[in-house]
């Protein structure tokens, strides 16, 4: 093949053309560049990984038997559900609050702007654990709450001790904390949308609410999603902080168990592996949601991992 093409070239190019490459070049054998250091580093890293895996399997300290015994244990699974509930409720309330705060911050009303800015400043400044303890002790500050005319007579009274249970305090703390971060994420997404988009929508006379939902939000989602997913993962792990309020979520429950049986490492691994699994599930969800909002942003959507797998199998079958 190469010989034929070299002969063709010889025929095509007159030998007296000074610009032409030597015609016999096409017939030479190509020796690829070698990369010995790639092999060396790959080998070193692989050996280290093998050592680590070997340690995981052979070190009795990991105690995989206890790990296996507790991974699906009833109290652990119940605690896992509490962790999930806290995460979902915290995320929903947090992002609802965040959307409201972002809208306030971007509004033309200077009072709303200032309140939103101050909220974000305060709630980002206070560590979550400190805030949770505040909410748990709200009864010391305000014994009762009442609904009524501001500075005037009240209609309903609540005892704060009954209103804010420890679970309520945890949820309140997580949601308020989350709202401050979510506000910034949503705001980042909204200001990332080209100003021309809103101008075009305004020039077409599209109503304000529709401008937001149909034009602004779908485009803002592209910028919002990666940070929001990041924040969601963060929240999932932050729920472990509420153990200070003695709520039976995953991390608290694990501590209860190893407080009883003294098997600290395997039980910490139970919690760790569950957090990893939940984060993995969130990451998969994130991939598909991001793909949905990429419509129109890319000329063609890349295939999903599943589609890639099927394409490989089809190519293999055809061979």
């Amino acid at each position: 093949m190469s010989l034929v093409s070299s002969i063709n070239r010889k025929n095509a190019d007159p030998p007296d053309d000074p610009a032409a490459l030597p015609a016999d070049l096409a017939g030479l054998r190509v020796v690829r560049a070698r990369h010995p250091w790639r092999w060396v580093f790959a080998l070193v890293v692989l050996v280290l990984c093998a050592q680590f895996a070997h340690g995981l399997a052979t070190n009795p300290g990991w105690d995989w038997y206890t790990f296996g015994g507790y991974f699906f244990e009833k109290s652990i699974v119940r605690a896992l559900v509490v962790t999930l509930e806290l995460t979902v409720a915290g995320a929903v309330l947090g992002f609802l609050g965040g959307i409201v705060l972002a809208a306030m911050r971007l509004s033309k009303n200077p009072v709303l702007q200032a309140v939103s800015w101050t909220y974000t400043w305060v709630f980002r400044s206070v560590p979550l654990i400190v805030q949770l303890l505040f909410w748990a002790n709200i009864g010391y500050l305000y014994e009762t709450l009442q609904v009524g005319v501001p500075f005037g007579p009240g209609f309903f009274r609540f005892e704060t001790l009954h209103l804010v249970s420890s679970l309520g305090a945890a949820l309140l703390g997580l949601a308020l904390h989350e709202a401050a971060y979510a506000a910034e994420i949503v705001r980042a997404g909204i200001i990332s949308v080209d100003q021309g988009q809103l101008e075009a929508a305004a020039a077409l006379g599209i109503p304000r609410g529709r401008q937001f939902r149909r034009i602004l939000l779908p485009q803002a989602m592209r910028a919002i999603l990666p940070s929001a997913a990041n924040e969601l993962v963060n929240l999932l792990k932050s729920t472990s902080v509420v153990y200070v309020l003695a709520i039976g979520e995953l991390f608290y429950q694990v501590q209860v168990v190893y407080g009883r049986n003294g098997r600290v490492v395997p039980l910490l691994m139970v919690a760790t592996v569950w957090y990893v699994i939940l984060t993995a599930a969130l990451s998969v969800l994130q991939y598909y949601v991001e793909r949905h909002y990429a419509r129109g942003a890319l000329r063609t959507l890349p295939p999903t991992p599943l589609q890639r797998l099927f394409a490989l199998r089809r190519a293999g079958g055809a061979r």
Binding site: E199, L204, G205, I206, P218, R299
Partner: protein
């Protein structure tokens, strides 16, 4: 004689301390094509954007088809309208942007159909049929399902024109519609605009395409430093301008 389509009276607009429009007066008759030319920074785009109140002005007023834009008159007072009412007024005025501003997450058809459905509350099926017909009219009947990024600049601008037409506007405003296009794509957009002009659509076009202005315009308006310097039919304004500033500008763009 019928009333003019657009009347601009004593329009002033500043950005900070810089005065962009310094008392513009302009009258545009229904059914005509008015081309606005002038050096960059002369206020052409600001004038156009003030007509549908994308830009709020400090003094002066604009009326379109007898309706004052941005205000409601009661007795001897002008009440500023809320954004909601301004949006309603804008739906009668089509606007085509220099950089298209198509909605990238919607297909060509959805771009065209969006405003008639949401701003004019017309039935979806009827709007879709009409949107498809409009895409055919601008030569893009086969691109209804394409997203803007899958289209060339010229095709995107033609979709943008179809989108403006979908509102059945009484007036079309073009803000340098070919300035963001590669030279070989300018012609296809000007062809569509030429068709619209022939069909008797009232148009105000800000452009640097002097050839197009000469061929299509009924009136050319020369704007400089925020004021209308002179206006007239193309052959008079382009070939026998009365003002030195017009002559100086034309000698630069026609050379």
């Amino acid at each position: 004689m019928s009333r003019p389509m657009v009347e601009v009276r004593g329009l002033h607009k500043s950005f900070g301390t810089h005065e962009v429009l310094c008392g513009v007066d302009l009258t545009v008759e229904a059914g005509g094509v008015t081309v606005v030319i002038g050096p960059s920074g002369s206020g052409k785009s600001t004038l156009l954007r003030s007509i549908n109140r994308l830009e709020r002005t400090e003094r002066g007023y604009v009326s379109v088809d007898g309706e004052i834009i941005g205000y409601r008159r009661s007795g001897d007072r002008l009440h500023e309208l809320s954004e909601r009412h301004v949006l309603r007024q804008r739906a009668g005025i089509g606007f085509v942007f220099q950089n298209f501003n198509l909605f990238p997450h919607l297909t060509a058809l959805e771009n065209v159909a969006e405003a008639p459905i949401s701003a004019q509350r017309r039935p979806r099926a009827e709007v879709h049929a009409e949107a498809l017909a409009l895409l055919h009219r601008v030569g893009l009947g086969d691109k209804a399902g394409a997203y803007p990024r899958q289209l060339s600049g010229g095709q995107q601008q033609r979709v943008a024109i179809a989108r403006a037409l979908a509102l059945r506007p009484k007036l079309l405003l073009f803000d340098e519609p070919t300035s963001a296009l590669d030279p070989e794509l300018v012609g296809e957009v000007l062809d569509v605009m030429r068709d619209l002009a022939t069909a008797g659509t009232t148009m105000i076009v800000v452009t640097h395409e002097i050839g197009f202005a000469r061929e299509v315009a009924d009136t050319i308006v020369f704007l400089d430093e925020g004021l209308v310097v002179e206006q007239g039919p193309p052959d008079r304004l382009l070939d026998r301008p009365e003002h030195d500033r017009t002559r100086a500008f034309l000698s630069k763009v026609l050379s």
